[in-house]
Symmetry: C2
Subunit: 111 residues, 2 copies
């Protein structure tokens, strides 16, 4: 799923290449079929091959991904998660400016 989300869409071959410790091509195809059975991806034909896309839109999926990480590793504290992220990211000055602006905006809304 990570690969599909990262690429936006992906073929079996792309998934295979992108996977670390790569399994066999057969396995990837079986995996994608299972993911489709479970409703996590759809495929459409593109020329001779299948292109798989997630059924849950990226934005929604990343919300849950962030929420899960916050829950699992930061005891539910988003503030702590943001802090860790800023701390480990070495952001540029421009990035920091953008974040500061965002914080100001959040302050307005929270009022």
């Amino acid at each position: 799923m990570d690969v599909v989300y990262q690429y936006g869409q992906a073929t079996a071959a792309e998934v295979l290449d992108a996977l670390p410790d790569p399994p066999s091509y057969s396995t990837v195809r079986a995996l994608l079929r299972v993911l489709e059975d479970k409703g996590h991806v759809r495929h459409r034909r593109q020329g001779p091959r299948y292109v798989f896309r997630p059924t849950v839109p990226r934005e929604k999926a990343r919300r849950s991904a962030l929420a899960r990480v916050v829950q699992t590793f930061f005891d539910g504290s988003s503030q702590a998660a943001v802090a860790a992220l800023i701390d480990q990211s070495s952001l540029s000055g421009a990035d920091l400016d953008r974040l500061e602006a965002l914080i100001d905006r959040a302050r307005q809304e929270g009022r």
Copy 2:
């Protein structure tokens, strides 16, 4: 693993309770044994039961977790990830103050 990281340490019963769509107790025990075989957890005896702890410390694990989410869902942009996190979190004024202070500090360091 999520459960173990969330609790810091956990017994088989705790993992079972914490799992959504709970599998059988046997399955949880097998799972923990496999995780131990793969080196992801260790156990030590506590009274009559086993308590499992992660081998990789929480802080290190959460760094990779964050990095993975950033990579998968934000095209590697931590700035975008932080923005999304702030946006979806409805943080308190005090939290926002703390983050602003952190941003200032990051600015100092990046200079």
